[in-house]
Amino acid sequence: MDTREQLRVLSRTGDSLSFAGKIREINMFPLFAKGIEIFQINTGRRCNLSCRHCHVDAGPHRTQIMSKPILDKCLEILSSFPISTIDITGGSPEMNPHLEWFIGDAARLNRRLIVRSNLTLLLEEPYRHLMDVFAQNRVEIVTSLPDYLETKSDRQRGTGTFAKVVEAMRELNLRGYGMKGSDLLIDIVHNPVGAYLPGSQAALEHEYRERLLTEQGVHFNQLFCLTNLPVGRYLDYLIESGNFEDYLSTLCHSFNPAAVKNVMCLTTLSVGWNGSLYDCDFNQMLDLTVNSGAPSSIMDFDMDKLKNREIVINNHCYGCVAGCGSSCQGATTTGD
């Protein structure tokens, strides 16, 4: 489904207000950025997996890869401004041929440096050495493991994926990742395997920790719960399975005003593979570039215009403020 069609489908909120109408109701419209704390770089849409929930629609067939001049521009901006977190995502970042060089240079900036990896590629050549590259550069690894049950996880990500992730985690544990007393961090992303919202992050983290340790012998640091947003391949799934109306209705009825105050776009700038700028990775996949006078290309980067920009919103934004809230760093409220 192209992005225009996705936005058309997302306009069907039934009895509920649009997202803009909902935040207007609580006097929070429009949303404005509060600076840039997280610089999220989508290095490309190529991936060795084709997960059923992927909002990026990533897969082996995709060819879009971020070029070195754009990565150079990212480094120039990061060197010039005290942005605290560099968050590298994809697709599979490992499939960008410039990743190793970029990590080396980015690590010298002494920021929080995150790579979102599905881990499965790290067991294969020519990617295996990246485990050591990550460790040497103190890269924080964030990996997706939608469930601690192999059958459920593999239903979303493909047969054999769970076993490979666990094997890679064991190797990373041996390097110190996720181990007590080590500063090498590996976090897990949980997202529901189906048309429902994630439960309590604390309760799920407890369960993951127990099950992964006793059944698989692996350690990790934190669990981040992410709500599946109705974008990309997950939107296709919702429509094909007859769950779209119920799911969007659930998102609308789970609206949490407290989560609006913490929504990640307020402090994030997302860079697309071709240098386009977005308020988040979901807007990126819907072709909703930053707007309202702020430059939409990294080549025209202007911190003064971007740091207080008006956020571009649409109805998929309900996903980030439903229940306990959702972000690339997990839940945004405690749910109390």
């Binding site: 429902y196 439960g199 309760a203």
Partner: protein, 109 residues
């Protein structure tokens, strides 16, 4: 139109209408009783799901099946809980046959 419609579940918070004091007290109690305490939220959700199934409440079955999924409870665990409920219902029925047997024994020559 069916008497039970899935979208009715979203109207549940509005049962405070016309009796706000009692309704609000119910929700306060409901939250305290179903939230984590000495028992975890997972354990309480499985209890709630089992009660919902045995009491044939389609709204509660919908809400608690979804909640159990959200909490990472597997299909196998939920089905075991359903069997516990079924066994309890069977046991409750048969335990009441004690009354029947007592009356028969008293009244028959």
């Amino acid at each position: 139109m069916s008497y039970y419609e899935p979208k009715d579940l979203a109207d549940f918070p509005n049962i405070t209408e016309w009796a706000a004091d009692q309704g609000n007290k119910f929700f306060e109690y409901y939250g305290a009783a179903t939230g984590a305490g000495k028992l975890t939220e997972r354990e309480k959700s499985l209890i709630a799901l089992t009660v919902a199934i045995t009491q044939n409440c389609p709204y509660c079955i919908d809400a608690y099946t979804t909640k159990c999924m959200s909490l990472g409870i597997s299909s196998e665990e939920m089905m075991e809980a359903a069997h516990t409920g079924a066994a309890m219902m069977a046991g409750v029925t048969l335990a009441h046959s004690t009354q029947m047997r007592k009356i028969i024994k008293k009244k028959e020559m």
